[in-house]
Amino acid sequence: MSQESEKLLDVPVLGIESVVVHAQRLKDRGLRLVAMTAVDHDEASVDVFYHFGQDLKLEHSRLTVAKGSAVPSISGVFFAALLVENEIQDQFGLTFEGLVLDYHRTLLLDADLTEIPFRSDIKIPPSRST
């Protein structure tokens, strides 16, 4: 049976204060950080998924925070979080506190760009949506 796809049902929810502790616990168990995903939860909040892995198995956690909030960085635990946390800062306007290298929203974007591309209130202009 193939197992390449996993529906994200009943993903454990993290509290903002437990993010780093949770990451450290998983690192101690021998897991690696596979990816992080940010996605609009509703008009006011954003979900941040943490995807950890061991061998071929994945373990997911979800953190729901208000748009524009500060989130503790796990890059001190998993250096691999460096790029993805900076990318989420660029795309969703969250701030990761304690990033080992903070690009201040210029990892992918120009320094003079103030819009937050992945916020649901930022739409691609109709002239380009044909």
């Binding site: 390449e4 690696r32 596979v34 990816a35 995903t37 071929l56 250096f79 460096l82 591309p117």
Partner: protein, 358 residues
């Protein structure tokens, strides 16, 4: 000599795509490397808001030219799982054939660039000459040489006739023979070994902790290969991941060299076992739910997160590409090395910047 910062890239003869490394050096020894990306960011994920989920197949294919087919395959298999679509067996095997052909031409492209990076231009020409055979197969079977665009949600849109199967088997056998003939100059030549053995070492522990994937992880002894998740034809096709243990640039090229031969073998197996049947499964409805799906690209594990809420446009498509995962391990390979080794080390992760930035 005092510490100096040397900007390496974004335009550099060894880089196929733009990335910059700010190298902190002392007496030509690298002490630290800080990456700068963002030169080719296109905002492809944002396009999910205005392209429907069928059109997004063509968008994700353009994440990366070299592994375009495998991006589309990963995206489609995520949606198929989400919508409960059973892909016909023939389509699963055809996907396997084209994805392994992609792995072969991607690795041959990289092996050629690698040879060019350390100045072995005739080897570079030989490897790219072999690669042309795979591109000819793509063109003859799918209509395009690189972006073959064979995937649709529910299956594939192209087939292999019996004549084409025979021809592909013959050509792939010829590719294997030609690649084997280059084993000595590529892996045993004294100059090549001088430039690659012991260069850019990544230990097994570092590879795991830093999240290395694909040939970078396997060259450091981690048997991490997403094909073991048994997607597409790998549900039935048996294979063992190619693993080396030295963790240096030489081991990374050896893994890719061996994987070219392994992929040729898998193409042969998939064609020999190609079941009869339909190419795709018709379906109705719109995707609903959240899913994570993974696949093994030539550069390693690729992860897609897809969220739909019953509309023709998806709420979110998130792509974590293998180079994105291999940048932190690359930063660990550089400190302590000579400046002259930096091009070889950076290239040894097979960086794909358009993938990384999307």
């Amino acid at each position: 000599m005092a510490r100096t910062v040397v900007p390496f890239g974004p335009q550099h003869p060894v880089f196929p795509e733009p990335i910059q490394l700010k190298l902190v050096v002392e007496d030509e020894i690298v002490k630290e490397a800080i990456p700068t990306i963002g030169f080719v960011h296109r905002g492809l994920e944002k396009l999910a808001e205005i392209r429907d989920f069928h059109q997004m197949v063509q968008v994700v294919e353009r994440t990366c030219g070299i592994c375009s087919m495998i991006h589309a395959m990963c995206y489609c298999q995520g949606l198929e799982e989400m919508m409960g679509i059973e892909v016909p067996d023939r389509a699963r095997y055809l996907r396997t054939v084209w994805s392994e052909l992609h792995r072969i031409h991607s690795h041959l492209l990289w092996l050629g660039l690698h040879a060019d990076a350390f100045g072995f231009e005739s080897l570079f020409m030989q490897l790219w000459k072999i690669r042309e055979k795979i591109l000819d197969i793509n063109e003859a079977t799918a209509g395009n040489r690189i972006i073959v665009s064979v995937n649709v949600v529910g299956g594939v849109r192209a087939d292999l006739s019996t004549d084409q199967q025979r021809w592909v088997l013959k050509e792939v056998a010829e590719v294997s023979r030609m690649v084997r003939a280059l084993e000595h100059p590529l892996l045993e030549d004294i100059t090549v070994k001088h430039r690659t053995v012991g260069v850019g070492v990544l230990t097994r522990e570092q590879a795991h902790l830093l999240g290395a994937v694909g040939p970078v992880a396997r060259a450091s002894g981690l048997p991490l290969d997403m094909r073991l998740l048994k997607y597409a034809g790998f549900r039935e096709l048996e294979f063992e991941p190619v693993v080396e243990t030295a963790g240096d640039a030489w081991a990374r090229s050896k893994v890719r060299f061996r994987e070219v031969l392994q992929s040729a073998h898998l193409v042969r197996l998939a064609i020999e076992k190609l079941p009869a049947g339909d190419l795709s499964t018709p379906f109705k409805g719109q995707p609903t739910g959240e899913i994570v799906t993974r696949i093994e690209q030539p550069r390693g594990e690729c992860l897609y997160y897809i969220k739909g809420s019953g509309k023709k446009n998806l709420d979110r498509v998130r792509i974590r590409t293998p180079t994105f995962a291999n940048v932190p391990p690359m930063l660990a390979m550089l400190p302590g090395t000579e400046l002259a080794n930096v091009p070889v080390i950076v290239l040894s992760i097979d960086p794909c910047i358009s993938c990384t930035e999307r």
